[in-house]
Protein backbone atom coordinates (compact mmCIF):
# COMPACT_ATOMS: atom_id res chain seq x y z
CA UNK A 1 0.00 0.00 0.00
CA UNK A 2 2.79 2.35 0.94
CA UNK A 3 4.48 1.51 -2.31
CA UNK A 4 1.30 2.33 -4.26
CA UNK A 5 1.01 5.66 -2.45
CA UNK A 6 4.58 6.51 -3.40
CA UNK A 7 3.91 5.66 -7.03
CA UNK A 8 0.72 7.77 -7.07
CA UNK A 9 2.48 10.69 -5.39
CA UNK A 10 5.34 10.44 -7.84
CA UNK A 11 2.92 10.32 -10.79
CA UNK A 12 1.09 13.41 -9.53
CA UNK A 13 4.38 15.25 -9.08
CA UNK A 14 5.61 14.22 -12.53
CA UNK A 15 2.30 15.33 -14.08
CA UNK A 16 2.43 18.70 -12.34
CA UNK A 17 6.00 19.20 -13.49
CA UNK A 18 5.08 18.24 -17.04
CA UNK A 19 2.21 20.75 -17.05
CA UNK A 20 4.47 23.55 -15.82
CA UNK A 21 7.15 22.85 -18.38
CA UNK A 22 4.58 22.59 -21.17
CA UNK A 23 3.45 26.09 -20.29
CA UNK A 24 7.02 27.36 -20.41
CA UNK A 25 7.43 25.60 -23.73
CA UNK A 26 4.26 27.23 -25.05
CA UNK A 27 5.53 30.63 -23.90
CA UNK A 28 8.86 30.05 -25.63
CA UNK A 29 6.89 29.37 -28.81
CA UNK A 30 4.88 32.59 -28.37
CA UNK A 31 8.10 34.54 -27.77
CA UNK A 32 9.74 33.11 -30.87
CA UNK A 33 6.70 33.67 -33.09
CA UNK A 34 5.88 37.25 -32.13
CA UNK A 35 8.67 38.90 -30.14
CA UNK A 36 11.79 37.60 -31.84
CA UNK A 37 10.93 39.41 -35.07
CA UNK A 38 12.48 42.47 -33.43
CA UNK A 39 13.98 41.25 -30.14
CA UNK A 40 15.85 38.29 -31.66
CA UNK A 41 15.58 34.58 -30.99
CA UNK A 42 17.62 34.91 -27.80
CA UNK A 43 16.08 38.24 -26.81
CA UNK A 44 19.19 40.30 -27.43
CA UNK A 45 17.36 42.99 -29.41
CA UNK A 46 18.74 41.80 -32.72
CA UNK A 47 15.82 40.33 -34.70
CA UNK A 48 15.72 40.40 -38.51
CA UNK A 49 13.75 43.66 -38.54
CA UNK A 50 16.58 45.52 -36.87
CA UNK A 51 18.41 46.83 -39.92
CA UNK A 52 20.55 49.94 -39.98
CA UNK A 53 17.54 52.20 -40.57
CA UNK A 54 15.42 50.75 -37.74
CA UNK A 55 14.65 53.93 -35.79
CA UNK A 56 15.16 52.51 -32.27
CA UNK A 57 17.04 49.71 -30.53
CA UNK A 58 14.62 47.02 -29.37
CA UNK A 59 15.19 46.08 -25.74
CA UNK A 60 17.95 43.56 -25.07
CA UNK A 61 16.25 41.29 -22.52
CA UNK A 62 19.56 39.83 -21.37
CA UNK A 63 20.62 43.25 -20.06
CA UNK A 64 19.81 42.79 -16.36
CA UNK A 65 20.70 46.38 -15.48
CA UNK A 66 18.08 47.83 -17.84
CA UNK A 67 15.53 45.10 -17.18
CA UNK A 68 15.82 45.62 -13.42
CA UNK A 69 14.46 49.16 -13.83
CA UNK A 70 11.10 47.73 -14.92
CA UNK A 71 8.54 45.99 -12.73
CA UNK A 72 6.55 43.00 -13.96
CA UNK A 73 3.56 45.34 -14.23
CA UNK A 74 5.59 47.65 -16.50
CA UNK A 75 6.47 44.72 -18.74
CA UNK A 76 2.86 43.58 -18.94
CA UNK A 77 1.77 47.12 -19.67
CA UNK A 78 4.19 47.61 -22.56
CA UNK A 79 3.38 44.22 -24.10
CA UNK A 80 -0.37 44.88 -23.93
CA UNK A 81 -0.46 48.55 -24.91
CA UNK A 82 2.78 49.10 -26.85
CA UNK A 83 5.75 51.45 -26.46
CA UNK A 84 3.81 54.73 -26.16
CA UNK A 85 2.04 53.39 -23.03
CA UNK A 86 5.36 53.72 -21.20
CA UNK A 87 6.66 56.75 -23.15
CA UNK A 88 8.68 54.55 -25.48
CA UNK A 89 8.65 54.11 -29.25
CA UNK A 90 5.50 53.13 -31.18
CA UNK A 91 7.73 50.63 -32.97
CA UNK A 92 6.85 48.33 -30.04
CA UNK A 93 3.34 47.22 -31.04
CA UNK A 94 0.37 46.89 -28.71
CA UNK A 95 -0.18 43.12 -28.47
CA UNK A 96 -3.24 43.32 -26.19
CA UNK A 97 -5.68 42.40 -28.97
CA UNK A 98 -3.48 39.58 -30.24
CA UNK A 99 -2.25 37.72 -27.15
CA UNK A 100 -4.24 36.24 -24.28
CA UNK A 101 -3.70 37.32 -20.69
CA UNK A 102 -2.06 33.96 -20.01
CA UNK A 103 0.30 34.50 -22.97
CA UNK A 104 1.36 37.88 -21.61
CA UNK A 105 1.85 36.60 -18.04
CA UNK A 106 3.94 33.77 -19.49
CA UNK A 107 6.01 36.24 -21.49
CA UNK A 108 6.73 38.37 -18.41
CA UNK A 109 8.08 35.27 -16.65
CA UNK A 110 10.03 34.34 -19.77
CA UNK A 111 11.68 37.78 -19.87
CA UNK A 112 12.72 37.35 -16.24
CA UNK A 113 14.46 34.12 -17.13
CA UNK A 114 16.24 35.89 -19.99
CA UNK A 115 17.49 38.78 -17.83
CA UNK A 116 18.05 36.55 -14.80
CA UNK A 117 16.66 39.44 -12.79
CA UNK A 118 13.60 40.11 -10.64
CA UNK A 119 12.86 43.65 -11.77
CA UNK A 120 11.65 46.64 -9.78
CA UNK A 121 9.61 45.42 -6.83
CA UNK A 122 6.34 46.87 -5.52
Amino acid sequence: MKKLMTIVAFAVLAFTFAMASATAEETAKVFKFYCSQCHGLEGKGDGPNVTKDFPVSPRNFTNAKEMDKLSDADLKNVIMDGGPAVSKSPMMPPWGKTLTDADVDGLVKHLRTLCKCKGKQG
Binding site: K29, C38, G47, P48, N49, F54, G82, M92, P93, G96
Partner: protein, 224 residues
Protein backbone atom coordinates in the same frame (compact mmCIF):
# COMPACT_ATOMS: atom_id res chain seq x y z
CA UNK B 1 -15.68 54.71 -93.29
CA UNK B 2 -15.82 51.05 -94.26
CA UNK B 3 -12.22 50.71 -93.26
CA UNK B 4 -12.84 52.18 -89.84
CA UNK B 5 -15.76 49.85 -89.34
CA UNK B 6 -13.70 46.83 -90.27
CA UNK B 7 -10.95 47.87 -87.89
CA UNK B 8 -13.42 48.52 -85.09
CA UNK B 9 -15.12 45.22 -85.66
CA UNK B 10 -11.85 43.31 -85.64
CA UNK B 11 -10.81 45.05 -82.42
CA UNK B 12 -14.07 44.04 -80.77
CA UNK B 13 -13.73 40.51 -82.09
CA UNK B 14 -10.11 40.23 -80.95
CA UNK B 15 -10.92 41.59 -77.50
CA UNK B 16 -13.76 39.17 -76.98
CA UNK B 17 -11.75 36.24 -78.33
CA UNK B 18 -8.82 37.05 -76.05
CA UNK B 19 -10.93 37.36 -72.94
CA UNK B 20 -12.96 34.22 -73.54
CA UNK B 21 -9.94 32.06 -74.41
CA UNK B 22 -7.94 33.23 -71.38
CA UNK B 23 -10.61 32.70 -68.73
CA UNK B 24 -10.10 29.05 -67.97
CA UNK B 25 -10.04 28.39 -64.23
CA UNK B 26 -10.59 24.64 -64.66
CA UNK B 27 -7.48 24.27 -66.82
CA UNK B 28 -5.58 26.41 -64.29
CA UNK B 29 -6.68 24.17 -61.45
CA UNK B 30 -5.26 21.17 -63.32
CA UNK B 31 -1.96 22.96 -63.90
CA UNK B 32 -1.90 24.05 -60.23
CA UNK B 33 -2.17 20.42 -59.21
CA UNK B 34 0.24 19.06 -61.80
CA UNK B 35 2.97 21.58 -61.01
CA UNK B 36 2.87 20.77 -57.30
CA UNK B 37 1.69 24.26 -56.25
CA UNK B 38 -0.61 22.64 -53.68
CA UNK B 39 2.42 21.23 -51.84
CA UNK B 40 2.96 24.70 -50.38
CA UNK B 41 -0.32 26.57 -50.92
CA UNK B 42 -3.78 25.47 -49.84
CA UNK B 43 -6.73 26.72 -51.85
CA UNK B 44 -9.77 25.48 -49.95
CA UNK B 45 -11.01 27.96 -47.36
CA UNK B 46 -11.93 28.93 -44.79
CA UNK B 47 -8.67 29.38 -42.88
CA UNK B 48 -7.41 26.16 -41.29
CA UNK B 49 -4.75 27.51 -38.89
CA UNK B 50 -5.67 27.35 -35.21
CA UNK B 51 -2.29 27.34 -33.48
CA UNK B 52 1.21 28.72 -33.98
CA UNK B 53 2.29 25.18 -34.92
CA UNK B 54 -0.38 25.10 -37.67
CA UNK B 55 0.95 28.36 -39.09
CA UNK B 56 4.59 27.25 -38.89
CA UNK B 57 3.80 23.95 -40.61
CA UNK B 58 2.81 25.83 -43.77
CA UNK B 59 5.42 26.08 -46.53
CA UNK B 60 3.81 29.02 -48.29
CA UNK B 61 0.93 31.49 -48.02
CA UNK B 62 -2.66 30.24 -48.28
CA UNK B 63 -4.32 31.10 -51.57
CA UNK B 64 -7.98 30.34 -50.91
CA UNK B 65 -8.84 34.05 -51.25
CA UNK B 66 -6.21 34.86 -53.91
CA UNK B 67 -8.82 36.31 -56.27
CA UNK B 68 -9.84 38.86 -53.65
CA UNK B 69 -6.28 39.61 -52.58
CA UNK B 70 -4.31 40.06 -55.77
CA UNK B 71 -4.57 42.15 -58.89
CA UNK B 72 -4.92 39.95 -61.96
CA UNK B 73 -2.36 41.71 -64.17
CA UNK B 74 0.27 41.56 -61.42
CA UNK B 75 -0.40 37.88 -60.69
CA UNK B 76 -0.16 36.80 -64.34
CA UNK B 77 3.17 38.57 -64.70
CA UNK B 78 4.55 37.42 -61.34
CA UNK B 79 3.87 33.75 -62.07
CA UNK B 80 6.09 33.94 -65.17
CA UNK B 81 8.83 35.78 -63.30
CA UNK B 82 8.42 35.37 -59.53
CA UNK B 83 10.49 37.89 -57.61
CA UNK B 84 10.59 37.58 -53.80
CA UNK B 85 7.80 39.40 -51.97
CA UNK B 86 9.09 38.52 -48.50
CA UNK B 87 12.67 39.50 -47.66
CA UNK B 88 12.88 36.44 -45.37
CA UNK B 89 12.15 32.84 -46.29
CA UNK B 90 8.51 31.98 -45.49
CA UNK B 91 8.14 31.39 -41.72
CA UNK B 92 11.85 31.94 -41.08
CA UNK B 93 13.51 34.66 -39.05
CA UNK B 94 17.03 33.46 -39.78
CA UNK B 95 17.09 32.65 -43.48
CA UNK B 96 16.75 35.05 -46.38
CA UNK B 97 14.20 34.35 -49.08
CA UNK B 98 16.06 31.99 -51.42
CA UNK B 99 14.15 33.45 -54.42
CA UNK B 100 13.49 29.96 -55.73
CA UNK B 101 9.72 30.08 -56.35
CA UNK B 102 8.97 27.94 -59.45
CA UNK B 103 8.20 29.81 -62.68
CA UNK B 104 5.31 29.04 -65.01
CA UNK B 105 5.44 29.36 -68.79
CA UNK B 106 3.11 31.93 -70.37
CA UNK B 107 0.07 29.74 -71.11
CA UNK B 108 0.21 27.96 -67.74
CA UNK B 109 0.65 31.27 -65.94
CA UNK B 110 -2.47 32.55 -67.70
CA UNK B 111 -4.66 29.62 -66.74
CA UNK B 112 -3.31 29.45 -63.15
CA UNK B 113 -4.02 33.18 -62.87
CA UNK B 114 -7.61 32.55 -63.98
CA UNK B 115 -7.92 29.75 -61.45
CA UNK B 116 -6.50 31.78 -58.57
CA UNK B 117 -8.58 34.83 -59.48
CA UNK B 118 -11.68 32.61 -59.25
CA UNK B 119 -10.91 31.96 -55.56
CA UNK B 120 -12.64 34.84 -53.85
CA UNK B 121 -13.86 35.66 -50.37
CA UNK B 122 -17.28 37.13 -49.61
CA UNK B 123 -15.58 38.95 -46.72
CA UNK B 124 -13.97 41.44 -49.10
CA UNK B 125 -16.41 44.21 -49.99
CA UNK B 126 -15.57 45.81 -53.31
CA UNK B 127 -15.28 49.48 -54.16
CA UNK B 128 -14.57 50.65 -50.60
CA UNK B 129 -10.94 51.72 -50.91
CA UNK B 130 -9.65 54.31 -53.36
CA UNK B 131 -5.85 54.39 -53.40
CA UNK B 132 -4.59 57.78 -52.26
CA UNK B 133 -1.54 59.20 -50.58
CA UNK B 134 -3.26 60.65 -47.53
CA UNK B 135 -1.56 62.25 -44.51
CA UNK B 136 -3.67 60.37 -41.92
CA UNK B 137 -2.90 56.96 -43.41
CA UNK B 138 0.76 57.85 -43.80
CA UNK B 139 0.99 59.04 -40.20
CA UNK B 140 -0.50 55.82 -38.85
CA UNK B 141 1.65 53.64 -41.11
CA UNK B 142 4.94 55.40 -40.50
CA UNK B 143 4.58 56.92 -37.02
CA UNK B 144 1.59 56.05 -34.87
CA UNK B 145 1.68 52.30 -35.47
CA UNK B 146 4.68 50.03 -36.03
CA UNK B 147 3.77 48.89 -39.59
CA UNK B 148 7.15 49.95 -40.98
CA UNK B 149 8.91 47.87 -38.33
CA UNK B 150 8.09 44.69 -40.25
CA UNK B 151 7.16 45.85 -43.77
CA UNK B 152 9.42 47.42 -46.36
CA UNK B 153 8.12 50.31 -48.44
CA UNK B 154 9.55 53.09 -50.58
CA UNK B 155 10.62 56.04 -48.47
CA UNK B 156 10.49 59.71 -49.40
CA UNK B 157 13.99 59.62 -50.85
CA UNK B 158 12.86 56.71 -53.05
CA UNK B 159 14.98 54.34 -51.00
CA UNK B 160 13.57 51.12 -49.59
CA UNK B 161 13.06 51.37 -45.84
CA UNK B 162 11.33 49.24 -43.20
CA UNK B 163 11.64 45.85 -41.54
CA UNK B 164 12.05 42.40 -43.00
CA UNK B 165 9.82 39.95 -41.14
CA UNK B 166 6.61 40.73 -43.03
CA UNK B 167 5.86 40.76 -46.74
CA UNK B 168 7.34 43.78 -48.52
CA UNK B 169 4.84 46.50 -49.36
CA UNK B 170 7.04 48.11 -52.00
CA UNK B 171 4.66 48.73 -54.93
CA UNK B 172 1.89 46.94 -52.99
CA UNK B 173 -0.62 49.05 -54.92
CA UNK B 174 0.23 47.05 -58.04
CA UNK B 175 0.02 43.69 -56.28
CA UNK B 176 -2.85 43.95 -53.82
CA UNK B 177 -6.54 44.66 -54.21
CA UNK B 178 -7.06 47.87 -52.18
CA UNK B 179 -10.32 46.49 -50.76
CA UNK B 180 -8.52 43.37 -49.53
CA UNK B 181 -6.01 45.46 -47.55
CA UNK B 182 -8.92 46.97 -45.61
CA UNK B 183 -10.71 43.64 -45.19
CA UNK B 184 -7.49 42.06 -43.91
CA UNK B 185 -7.08 44.80 -41.29
CA UNK B 186 -10.73 44.59 -40.26
CA UNK B 187 -11.12 40.80 -40.25
CA UNK B 188 -7.75 39.24 -39.39
CA UNK B 189 -9.41 36.09 -38.03
CA UNK B 190 -11.03 35.39 -41.39
CA UNK B 191 -7.86 35.61 -43.45
CA UNK B 192 -5.00 34.82 -41.05
CA UNK B 193 -6.19 33.65 -37.64
CA UNK B 194 -2.60 33.03 -36.50
CA UNK B 195 -0.05 35.50 -37.76
CA UNK B 196 3.04 37.39 -36.68
CA UNK B 197 1.32 40.73 -37.22
CA UNK B 198 -0.58 42.31 -34.33
CA UNK B 199 -4.38 42.52 -34.44
CA UNK B 200 -5.39 46.17 -34.84
CA UNK B 201 -9.13 45.66 -34.45
CA UNK B 202 -10.15 47.71 -31.42
CA UNK B 203 -7.00 49.84 -31.71
CA UNK B 204 -7.65 51.51 -35.04
CA UNK B 205 -11.10 52.71 -36.10
CA UNK B 206 -12.64 51.66 -39.43
CA UNK B 207 -11.81 55.15 -40.69
CA UNK B 208 -8.16 54.79 -39.63
CA UNK B 209 -7.96 51.38 -41.30
CA UNK B 210 -9.49 52.77 -44.50
CA UNK B 211 -6.90 55.55 -44.52
CA UNK B 212 -4.07 53.04 -44.02
CA UNK B 213 -5.47 50.82 -46.79
CA UNK B 214 -5.72 53.83 -49.12
CA UNK B 215 -2.14 54.81 -48.27
CA UNK B 216 -0.69 51.32 -48.83
CA UNK B 217 -2.72 50.86 -52.03
CA UNK B 218 -1.07 54.02 -53.33
CA UNK B 219 2.40 52.41 -53.20
CA UNK B 220 3.11 52.29 -56.92
CA UNK B 221 6.17 52.67 -59.14
CA UNK B 222 7.22 56.30 -59.34
CA UNK B 223 6.38 57.95 -62.63
CA UNK B 224 9.53 58.84 -64.55
Amino acid sequence: MKNILTVALSVVFLASATSSSSADPAAGKTVFGAKGCADCHYTDGPAKEKTIDDQLAKKGPELWYAGSKFQKAWLAKWLTDPKPIRPQKFNSLTEENPADHPKLAGADAGSVTDYLMSLTSADVASGKVKPKNNPKGRQIFTKKMPCSGCHQYTGRKKNIVGGRSGPSLVEAGVRLNPDWILAYLQKPKVFKPVKMMPVFVGLLSDKDMTNVARYVANFKPKKK
